[in-house]
Symmetry: C2
């Protein structure tokens, strides 16, 4: 078995004990708030991680692609919410999964989308389970609570013979916040919008049993989730520098890092060249507009201590450029020595790797596969 | 066989006729300038593309990872330059490829790196073929021509029994230029630095037969390559919006695009929501600081005409947000209709996909696999 010391670089390292603590933290919070946790697995796309979430109490999962749905269903996971508005052209794929026994639920936020689902369902004699997406914060998709289309969509689905499961929303703009009061207010805004949407639908005598909300920042900031039945959150499983800036995690909760090797220097410029460029880190610069800009990631020693003053300022495909004002960099960071980089955005950095190197408390490594593509 | 019309989205589309024209253009230019072309295959990481480059006259390839080297060698490609400074910990992997018969050449730009190569080579009774990397423009790695270390490295390799193949450089800062005079000057700067480095080494009685330079912008701007033996260029095979801004390609040469489906709207904001987010496009915003900022990519119709005024302004993991001031967007771009997005950076966007959908002049689709990971 490989150990941390023998790993080739660049490598995506999961700190297993930290990951388990993160999973416990979110699950306990959801248990306390009295809601189910349906983790969004787009962060890890990794069955071993998902198994750990389910073992801790998660009920069902959220996916970002139908490929994830198929992959997880083949692994025995049955209750799957596909969290992206259903394209009519993907209905066949969803149908095939459902026919095989996968309880895959789908999402729409438009009359055209709802009609396509109804039409396909009728044609195939199939009753899809459908969520209506609510726009709780204006950041992306969904119907506003006071948009009359909301009831048209609900009625279209119900009268068209589909199973209207409920309403769902994602307050993605919580990622732009960084103080507890604003986060708590956003969490309440997310909850309220979705609960009011459900009540609006129910007031018309239409079914709307479920109310699904969630993002990692709001899930960890909410103090009351009355009316909510489940929370979807994803990035909490690893956390990352964006979440650190948001203020909902601590440095010792960052469970994903990239192990890299020093391959050169430009000493007069204070540059350390590494073998982790954007292919390893991704081009995500999510901290650029936050209170602390971490460049392409926070540079740490091989054992994980932060190297203050080292700035990961440039990334070519397979070259990282770390700048520092420290003296004598060729001795401090000799060629062949290794660093670890904490990513801005765990979802984006993880996606660059076909597998994770999951390291336990004793430094033993397990290779955990990761899904790629659509 | 699938056709363009039946493809699922998001999909990475290669326009095969454009790709062949791009390959011809570069090959003819190199033939005219009297140098060999050793294409950098990090752009496509795709054997079908590499085969087309070789069929057109390429001699040898450049790779950015040893995994690419092994993949191409298994496919029958023998002459491979690994273009990233050799990490001592990767020598075993390079050695194993060479023992199998792969003429893999490696790169160093430091005395420590050279000594590690010599030490490993002696220990294993093996003579590596080695390039010394020259810094011709200050943008990243390499030894300056007037750095006395250059000769130390050359002597260390030669006297240590390694085969000193030559010097190589990459004027990556050419990507930051956008007028023909500056590009031509950069091409000459790149050529001169590398030729002078070779002459400096030869003047000491050391061997330095090869002079390898190249980037797509300088390769297409150079008017004279005296003293150069080969050119390495990569992104020309697809080109992209960054290269369009640099001014070395035309819109009808952009051979890579992402096919996407409209999945929703926020009509009052003029937003079209698509199923191509950053997972499909990558987070590369390479045009952000160029003369025209293309957001996350140029929006085109399904058949490839540019949609002027449509701005791909936001990208979540599986959601793209395209903003337009056009009226009646739900009818013009209905749910289920499709768009094509030209990427900022072909290398980064391609890397998000496990395979390309390569479309010929008749609209027939071939699936071309793409290498992922290290």
């Amino acid at each position: 078995m490989q150990t941390f010391q023998t790993l080739d670089t660049p490598a995506a390292i999961i700190d297993i004990p930290r990951m388990h603590r993160n999973i416990q933290r979110m699950q306990q919070r959801m248990d306390t708030l009295g809601v189910r946790l349906r983790p969004h697995v787009k962060t890890s796309k990794c069955l071993a991680v998902i198994d750990a979430q389910r073992a801790a109490g998660a009920q069902g999962i959220t996916v970002s692609t139908l490929k994830e749905a198929g992959h997880c269903f083949a692994h025995g996971i049955n209750d799957i919410l596909y969290g992206v508005a259903m394209a009519p052209g993907k209905l066949q794929q969803a149908f095939e999964l459902r026919v095989k026994g996968c309880r895959l639920s789908i999402v729409t936020d438009s009359l055209v989308g709802a009609e396509a689902i109804v039409s396909f369902g009728r044609e195939h004699g199939h009753r899809f389970e459908v969520w209506i997406e609510i726009d709780s914060d204006g950041h992306r998709s969904g119907l506003k609570v006071d948009d009359p289309t909301l009831l048209h969509v609900a009625r279209t689905l119900h009268e068209g013979g589909m199973q209207l499961l409920g309403v769902m929303t994602h307050a993605g703009s919580s990622y732009e916040l960084d103080n507890p009061e604003a986060l708590q207010a956003m969490a309440e805004q997310e909850r309220r919008a979705c609960v009011v949407a459900a009540e609006t639908i129910r007031a018309q005598g239409l079914p709307c049993p479920e109310v699904s909300i969630g993002s990692t920042p709001t899930a960890l900031s909410a103090t009351d989730l009355e009316g909510v039945t489940e929370v979807r959150a994803g990035v909490y499983v690893f956390f990352d520098l964006v979440m650190l800036n948001v203020g909902i995690c601590e440095p010792d909760e960052l469970a994903l890092s990239v192990l890299t090797t020093v391959i050169g220097h430009q000493e007069e410029k204070g540059w350390i060249i590494t073998d982790a460029g954007w292919m390893a880190m991704s081009r995500d610069r999510g901290t650029q507009k936050q209170k602390r800009d971490f460049g392409y990631g926070q540079v740490c020693t091989e054992s994980g201590e932060w190297v203050e003053g080292a700035v990961f300022e440039g990334a070519n495909q397979e070259h990282g450029i770390v700048s520092t004002s420290e003296a004598d960099i060729t001795r401090r960071y000799p060629i062949g020595s290794r660093l670890r980089i904490l990513p801005n955005h765990a979802c984006a950095t993880g996606a660059q790797f076909p597998e994770y190197q999951a390291v336990d408390a004793e430094g033993r490594v397990q290779v955990w596969g990761r899904l790629h593509g659509w």
